[in-house]
């Protein structure tokens, strides 16, 4: 039950994008089309789950026993950067169709603050291993959800009569604000 709460909390109530403002850059950049939003969300979820596992192992098996917690920022970012590289090479080798679908989005994920944020939250909140995995899956699901909803709205927005100065980033942010208000309705759930 506890695991379920962690999952729902990360995915909906404390949505990474709309409540914690993590991963805003891809949220604004890649939310033009629903298809690319889903691909980006899937790629991010995939990397998030692996990051959750690896960063938990790194923090609890290496940094804590040797009292090297102060190295967590450089070590996390290096691990994430190399992880993304490995994932890219692995997918390229194993599944060509998947690589074609996710390929261009993978390098972008390195600088996605949602990934590093996830790793930092896991070490900060002292989650257990299983909890970390559920947290990673939930955060990824929440990111995909927010990105897909946003892409759907923006596809409709193409037809709307938006003032010229507000086209692009400004109107996206305003829509995101309304979306964040809507997501606040889930606040009482947990």
């Amino acid at each position: 039950m506890d695991l379920f709460i962690i999952f729902i909390s990360a995915a909906i109530v404390n949505n990474f994008v709309l409540a914690y403002f993590l991963g805003i850059c891809p949220f604004i950049g890649v939310s033009n089309k629903t298809s690319s939003a889903v691909s980006m969300g899937m790629a991010t979820t995939f990397v998030m789950v692996i990051t959750a596992i690896v960063s938990w192992l790194l923090f609890n098996l290496l940094l804590v026993p040797y009292e090297l917690e102060f190295l967590q920022i450089p070590s996390f970012i290096l691990v994430i950067a190399s992880l993304v590289q490995f994932v890219e090479m692995f997918i390229k080798k194993v599944s060509q169709p998947l690589y074609r679908a996710l390929g261009i989005f993978l390098p972008l994920i390195t600088t996605n603050c949602a990934i590093l944020g996830l790793a930092l939250f896991i070490s900060m909140r002292e989650y257990s291993f299983i909890e970390s995995v559920f947290f990673g899956v939930g955060a990824g699901a929440g990111f995909t959800l927010a990105l897909t909803i946003m892409a759907g709205i923006r596809e409709e927005l193409e037809l709307a009569n938006v003032p010229a100065s507000f086209k692009g980033a400004p109107i996206t942010l305003i829509v995101a604000g309304i979306l964040a208000l809507a997501f606040m309705g889930f606040a009482g759930m947990i």
């Binding site: 604004i28 920022i73 590093l116 930092l120 400004p170 109107i171 604000g177």
Partner: protein, 227 residues
Amino acid sequence: MVKQVPLSKEFLKGLWEQNPIFKQVLGMCPTLAVTVSAINGIAMALATTFVLVTASLLISTIRKLIPNQVRIAAYIVIIATFVTIVDLVMKAKFPELSKALGPFIPLIVVNCIILGRQEAFASKNTPFRALLDALGMGAGFFIALVSLGGIREIIGSRTFLGIQILPDAFEPWLIMILPAGAFLTLGLMLGFANMYTDRKKRIEKESLIEQYKRVSKVEISMAQEGI
């Protein structure tokens, strides 16, 4: 030889012309997340500026020693080192601020403004120019964060830097200090910034056309007289 940009320009361009928030729309995550109040915005902007300035200085100094293939990794390690310094200092000296900003101090590492400036500027310029550029960008970021944080704090909790400035009769807008308020305020600010730039451009264009018309009229009348 590349045309040299005047030194003052390197600094001033970050304030408005290439403002990282209003013009380049970079580094959105910390901008939206920490600006519940002006003081948080100031702390975040100062921390980011420190990392930006020190990283720019170091990277532009050793730019010829970094092999091109591993430059991004090298930049990230250097940035992460300075961010660790900031994080530890904040935890030791300003524990309350550090708690309020939460994971967003470590997250300076992935702030696109910093990596972007290293890639676009510090890796190609002398340390002094890189310093001016970093200071300018930091100042631009500071202006954006303080104005956003100030607006949200004044309307959301009636205070500015902790001092009450709006009367008690004013009902604070709770939405401004909630996540939704950050998105709405920044969206409106970006929109109005665009509107201002567009208007300035249009006025310039119109005055150019006006000038052109006047000149051509004179030329035509001169030509007619000549005949």
